[in-house]
Subunit: 137 residues, 2 copies
């Protein structure tokens, strides 16, 4: 199918850009654990668990460059930890909590809780109290 626009013909590169995701049954423990062993990626996952709703990549204050962020989001997506889809120029991210729970029961919750614990242990006496695990697992 060809779309004519202002005198020039264009292929349907107008179609929505899609991103590949592994199916629920294709999740690999190897990939998931590797994905979760990086602190930057755990920060992403923790924020996705804490804040309800989808969040754009730009909503994350990561301690790395933009291209490195892209890399980490891709690793999470290809491992099946997060779901990504375009909305305009932005990409909305969400946790695949249900899929993870189906394949690896208790894993995500355990990691999230452990991350909270370490975070509060590291930032000792910074704030009174915080982080109660808000994930909809």
């Amino acid at each position: 199918m060809i779309w004519s626009q202002s005198g020039k013909t264009r292929e349907i590169d107008l179609q929505v850009r899609t991103l590949a995701h592994p199916g629920r049954s294709e999740l690999r423990l190897d990939a998931v654990l590797s994905a979760l062993s990086d602190p930057v990626r755990r920060q992403i996952v923790s924020q996705l668990a804490d804040v309800p709703g989808e969040q754009a990549c730009s909503a994350f204050q990561l301690p790395v460059s933009k291209s490195t962020s892209t890399h980490h989001f891709r690793v999470l997506r290809e491992a099946g930890v997060i779901e990504q889809h375009y909305r305009g120029t932005a990409i909305l991210n969400s946790l695949r909590a249900a899929d993870l729970e189906a394949q690896f029961p208790g894993l995500l919750r355990a990691v999230l809780q452990a991350a909270i614990k370490e975070a509060s242990a590291t930032a000792t006496a910074a704030r009174p109290q915080a982080g109660q695990l808000n994930a909809e697992v």
Copy 2:
């Protein structure tokens, strides 16, 4: 202290060889997850969970060389996942299930169950039924 033996004096290199372990409160999520993301190491951990009692390194049929095995056991020990101590020329290994449970509740169990699930999914129709998680967590 000097020990005299058959005419020659020797320093107390006779003292039991010790291996360094992180304390319970020193366990790092980063290190634990990294340790558990390698399939060879998960095989070790799974066997330690399945078989009761301590097991020597030589009791494991790993798909790597002897020196590589040493490497993997050390990674697990330094991450605090296993405890190792000498007994004669052998090293006895055991899971630090209680310490892991104290620091990262539910994590070890979730990983072990996930490993069992993947193993049975991979070796489909090999044996009728097996692997019910025998860890004393």
